[in-house]
């Protein structure tokens, strides 16, 4: 563990040579945000409020750019036809040709800037794909930022429209800022609406019943509570054998610790612990326990042949055939 910590510290130091990161508090190094390689960044507003945004990288932005390109091409074609027809039926063909060129110039250089100013950091393509341009302090961008970052795109597309310059620039910073973004102090974030799920509903009466048998003096730590919440949140997507495989890792030591029969359902035990931690209403539970006669110590259908937890984190447990 010491070696790991030293290695990590060295790594952090190496990273900070190019991209300064705030030093982690002693003892908190493992859980600092900067320890993770992720596409989320923390933005602290001038009001000192921290937001976590998922930044949009080049590939997340590409569909929006392609959509905008399509809209631009459509608009240009429309104006070309209108001016072409006007030129054909009047004696102002030259003027119409000039107007078409002006439209092309405006669309090419100001389409993004105008829309991002007007639509608060979004173009139609960005709006469809759910991404938005913000200032690096989390504030909405202003007109100059919007127009400048779009004009600077020409530089990002160098050399010769291969976009490698922009791609390299985006790869070199945590916020996926292309050169235009760096110059204008902007970032592109993903507008994700996350649903906050409440406490999971436990339909199985044995859960409440079993939770009563958990020793009253057993303290659920914060990390255990989080882990239980994560398990209960995801378990409905697992098959019954998979629930057993996943729950076994934690349930086995807990069964020993609580002195429960070793064939108690692993899934049921974790649900009961979750219930005890987040839901429990002791008096109500006791009522359920007396009304519901069946034993909560439901044995798992099949004994697990390989109870040894694998050391390789990529390992999978052998597939179970029963619950």
């Amino acid at each position: 563990m010491v070696a790991e910590r030293t290695g990590f510290a060295n790594n952090l130091l190496a990273v900070s040579l190019f991209f300064p990161v705030p030093p982690a508090a002693p003892g908190a190094w493992m859980t600092t945000k900067s320890a993770h390689i992720d596409t989320t960044v923390e933005i602290v507003t001038p009001e000192n409020i921290a937001f976590h945004y998922q930044v949009a990288g080049p590939f997340r932005r590409l569909p929006a750019f392609m959509l905008d390109l399509l809209i631009r091409a459509g608009l240009y074609t429309f104006f070309m036809i209108v001016f072409g027809l006007a030129g054909a039926f009047t004696s102002m063909a030259g003027i119409m040709w000039g107007a078409t060129m002006i439209i092309w110039f405006l669309l090419d250089w100001f389409y993004g800037g105008i829309f991002e100013t007007w639509m608060n950091g979004q173009t139609p393509g960005k709006w469809v794909l759910g991404i938005r341009v913000l200032s690096i302090d989390g504030q909405p961008i202003n007109g100059i930022q919007a127009i400048m970052r779009n004009i600077m795109r020409t530089l990002d597309m160098m050399p010769v429209f291969t976009c490698i310059l922009g791609l390299v620039a985006m790869s070199l910073n945590r916020r996926f800022q292309r050169i235009g973004d760096i110059v204008c102090g902007t970032i592109v974030v993903v507008e994700e609406r996350k649903w906050l799920t409440g406490v999971a509903k436990m339909d199985d009466l044995r859960v409440a019943q079993l939770s009563n048998y958990i020793p009253a003096d057993y303290q659920v730590s914060r990390t255990l509570a989080k882990t239980l919440a994560a398990y209960v949140d995801r378990r409905r997507f697992f098959s019954i054998p998979r629930r057993r495989e996943v729950a076994r890792h934690l349930a086995e030591p807990l069964l020993v610790q609580f002195g429960f029969p070793l064939d108690t359902s692993y899934d049921l035990l974790l649900c009961a612990l979750y219930y005890r931690t987040f839901v429990a209403d002791r008096s109500n539970d006791e009522r359920i326990a007396t009304e519901f006669g069946a034993s909560p110590f439901t044995p798992a259908a099949l004994a697990d042949a390989t109870t040894q937890a694998a050391q390789n984190p990529f390992d999978i447990a052998p597939t179970q055939t029963g619950s």
């Binding site: 990590f8 320890a35 990288g57 080049p58 490698i164």
Partner: protein
């Protein structure tokens, strides 16, 4: 090893997010990824050049004056594209092993990476060289008469068929490197309940076949686009620094394979992250890691 404190954030992602995250991973581990990738790529570069490099030799093009230069260039382009495409997963074995360790360990050692791959060499040979047709693709060129014209049945039909087969296998079973090198399942077993590579591959890939195929198509499209961009940049640099603006034989012989390998390296990182994503979506791997970490903490408390 703290299983729930991973260096690469473990959560569900879509393909575009995975592509973006791969850039972060590349930046963070640029040097080790470069080393682990090119350790495998350099022998393959040399091998490919030995197999088909002669197609761009001046003597060949001058001796067989009836062959237009464009013809030999297209021939080389086709053969090299097929070879690199087929060999790309094999070239990423060390990189995959490194990334597997990098998820959990801050600074994985090269020694462990090479030792882990060394332990699995039989499985790698079977899965990559034979099943994924790297060896047959190389052997095809033994059937080609050197310094002779384009051999349509062998180079177009046979090599094309092998490349199509490899593409099909990789589209529906993309994560074989991860299964072999990280999960370390046995190739065969007499125990019917043991999870062999084949069984594991079926379990992992089977339920998400359609999704994996769609992802493969999108990845292939991005791969082609990136190859054009990287190749175009090399051509631009050659024009600026060497005043050679033509994508001629020299450019094609050295720069084009290099451009493809660079993209293959990037796509190997994307593939590894997609593997993590599949395990999260399909198996709830992130929950399993948290439970295992919590179990370890509980055990430590009891001690």
């Amino acid at each position: 090893m703290q299983l729930d404190s991973t260096r690469i954030a473990i959560r569900e992602r879509n393909l575009l997010d995975t592509f973006d995250l791969a850039l972060h991973v590349l930046r963070e581990y640029f040097k080790p990824l470069l080393i682990t990738f090119f350790v495998a790529v350099i022998p393959l570069l040399v091998l490919n050049d030995l197999l088909i490099g002669w197609m761009l030799d001046v003597e060949y093009r001058e001796t067989f004056f009836y062959l237009e230069e464009q013809g030999s260039i297209w021939r080389f382009w086709w053969d090299m594209t097929c070879l690199v495409f087929i060999e790309a997963p094999l070239a990423s074995i060390f990189m995959t092993s490194f990334l597997g360790q990098a998820v959990f360990v801050a600074e994985p050692s090269y020694r462990e990476v090479f030792r882990d791959v060394g332990k699995m060499w039989k499985r790698v040979v079977w899965c990559q060289l034979l099943v994924r047709a790297v060896l047959p693709a190389c052997l095809v060129f033994l059937l080609v008469e050197r310094y002779d014209g384009f051999n349509v049945p062998v180079e177009l039909l046979l090599l094309g068929s092998i490349a199509t087969y490899a593409a099909f296998v990789r589209a529906i079973r993309p994560f074989i490197n991860e299964i072999v090198l990280l999960e370390r399942n046995p190739l065969t077993s007499r125990n019917p309940s043991a999870i062999t590579i084949g069984k594991r591959s079926k379990d992992l890939h089977g339920p998400s076949g359609g999704d994996l195929f769609a992802r493969w198509l999108a990845t292939a499209m991005f791969g082609m686009l990136l190859t054009v961009c990287v190749g175009g940049t090399f051509l631009f640099c050659s024009g600026v620094f060497l005043n050679d603006w033509q994508p001629g034989p020299t450019m094609l012989r050295y720069m084009y394979p290099l451009a493809m390998w660079v993209v293959a390296g990037y796509l190997a990182v994307v593939r590894f992250l997609s593997y993590l994503d599949l395990r999260i979506r399909h198996e709830g791997w992130e929950v399993e890691l948290r439970l295992r970490a919590e179990a370890a903490r509980q055990a430590a408390k009891l001690i």
